[in-house]
């Protein structure tokens, strides 16, 4: 097993010098999924933005992020263009904000593909359709000619996944991709992600507040709180023997969710 991405001693501070992410280190193995769990404001999204070099300008970052021997902070803007999207794909909580509101989905695919690879419009369209059917969207021609606002949240998220996977990235960063979806759609999307990871050699950094989903999807889990990774390890270790008090509380809560089955407290 080889390490694909390594984050070493990542620190993020705001202008006032307040530490938002503190000395966090973790690594992503080829073909594996790392779940970063934490409550809102714990710094998990900032960590993912730091990897994509998309931090807001008023935040200062230090530490080292290495993708297959390349130190990401030292890269030129031109090189970043090919890495972001090309080698690291990303999906976010609100796909309708990530997609262009006034360009049809199909053209966004074509533009993306042609800005990275020397392919014809026809070829790009063909690839896009193939990707869309891979994420289980049925009527691909209809989706290609639609605008983001015409599709439902679940469909948009599938479109985002297809777009992120179009250039066959080595890493997919998924930042709370299902938090805005209802439980049924959430299960479908998570299942799809799991299948895609198994089919390809891709690694995933999955950011969530839900330990239950991580138990299903991840290989390794890191628990983040107040900017620090307080505990990380294989999902088996984290879930069966959590060390930190906060992780224990999360585990307890997850187990309680199924207790209702036998005895419903309301009666």
């Amino acid at each position: 097993m080889t390490t694909l991405l390594e984050v070493k001693n990542l620190n993020i501070r705001n202008k006032e010098g307040q530490s938002l992410v503190h000395n966090s280190s973790f690594s992503l193995e080829t073909g594996k999924t790392y779940a970063l769990i934490g409550e809102s404001g714990s710094g998990k999204t900032l960590t993912s933005k730091a990897i994509l070099d998309m931090l807001p300008a008023h935040l200062q970052m230090s530490g080292d992020i290495v993708l297959q021997g390349e130190h990401l902070q030292q890269l030129s803007r031109k090189r970043w263009r090919s890495i972001r999207g090309g080698q690291i794909g990303a999906i976010f909580q609100h796909p309708e904000q990530a997609l262009h509101p006034s360009i049809p989905i199909g053209r966004q695919f074509v533009d993306l593909m042609r800005s990275h690879l020397p392919v014809s419009r026809y070829e790009a369209e063909k690839q896009a359709k193939k990707m869309l059917s891979q994420v289980l969207l049925k009527d691909t021609s209809h989706v290609m000619s639609s605008y983001a606002h015409e599709l439902s949240g679940g469909m948009n998220q599938r479109v985002m996944i297809a777009m992120a996977l179009l250039l066959k990235p080595k890493i997919l960063i998924a930042d709370e991709p299902t938090s805005a979806l209802d439980v049924k759609t959430q299960a479908e999307i998570i299942f799809l992600l799991k299948e895609l990871i198994l089919d390809t050699e891709m690694s995933m950094l999955f950011i969530t507040h839900d330990l239950l989903i991580s138990g299903y999807l991840a290989d390794t889990i890191g628990v983040m709180r107040e900017g620090k990774i307080i505990e990380q390890g294989s999902k088996e270790n984290i879930i069966s023997a959590p060390e930190h008090e906060y992780t224990q509380e999360l585990c307890r809560h997850c187990s309680q969710r199924f207790l209702g089955k036998g005895e419903i407290p309301y009666a």
Partner: protein, 256 residues
């Protein structure tokens, strides 16, 4: 208490709700469950008189839905209050939190200044928020605190019916749990009638006594929460909603 009769709602010629028919008794707690797009939020907006039904009736304590005149709306909102999904857009961002909470008391009651202050502090404490926060503007609050503030505001005028529209859906799991526990304790203390709208069936045991399932604007079934896991009796659609977390559950049980 609340009665909904043969309710239809069309938007741009597309049916959103079809033939909705149910009632809520005094002190009851009913959950409305459905996927996004099932029409559950439209139903809440209709009950709050924010939209008018295409046909059908809504009665509260025998009174019909208000359509004209400030006084009829005022009476409606004295009895029914709502808490929305946390979008940060319920409370006026330019007012202090104290002003936000005082506002309904100015409109709905004859309390003087001191009494209003006393009431605001009472409910602010009840939802578990720190007094010092009242001087801040709503933007200062975290997601969980914001929802608590909205809940306090909704409860201040002692409504008879409280509607919660996806109130906890944007909160993380532990905060969700705390919010549900808070609602249960307020329910016990005040005898509040509750209409709880959600997409997550697992939140409901302990909170709601009855569940109504909506699918594509139609009522699938209405049943008592105690029969939720009785798969033989449930509609296949309800079972499919319940099963959506099953794969996570199986994985979890293998790990623990």
């Amino acid at each position: 208490m609340l009665e909904i009769q043969r309710l239809y709602k069309e938007i741009h010629g597309r049916p959103i709700l079809q033939d909705i028919h149910f009632g809520i008794e005094d002190g009851e707690s009913l959950a409305i469950v459905g996927e996004s797009g099932s029409g559950k939020s439209t139903l809440a907006q209709l009950i709050m008189a924010l939209k008018q039904p295409t046909s059908g009736h809504i009665f509260f304590d025998g009174r019909p839905l208000p359509s004209k005149g400030i006084s009829s709306y005022r009476e409606w909102y004295r009895d029914i209050q709502i808490v929305f999904q946390n979008t940060g857009s319920t409370l006026n961002p330019a007012m202090s939190l104290f002003q936000c909470l005082e506002e309904p008391l100015i409109h709905f009651t004859r309390y003087n200044r001191a009494e209003r202050k006393h009431k605001v502090l009472e409910y602010w404490g009840k939802v578990g928020l720190n007094e010092n926060l009242l001087r801040n503007r709503p933007g200062k609050l975290s997601g969980g605190q914001y929802q608590r503030a909205c809940l306090a505001k909704a409860l201040l005028t002692r409504p008879k019916l409280l509607i919660c529209d996806e109130m906890v859906s944007n909160l993380d799991v532990l905060l969700q749990q705390q919010m549900i526990e808070l609602l249960i304790s307020i329910q016990k203390e005040q005898g509040l009638t509750l209409l709880f709208i959600t997409h997550d069936l697992t939140l409901l045991p302990g909170l709601c006594s009855n569940i109504m399932v909506l699918k594509e604007g139609k009522q699938v079934e209405l049943f008592s929460t105690s029969a939720l896991y009785d798969e033989a009796e449930r509609d296949p659609y309800t079972v499919s909603l319940l099963n959506s977390s099953k794969m996570f559950e199986t994985a979890w049980n293998q790990l623990t």
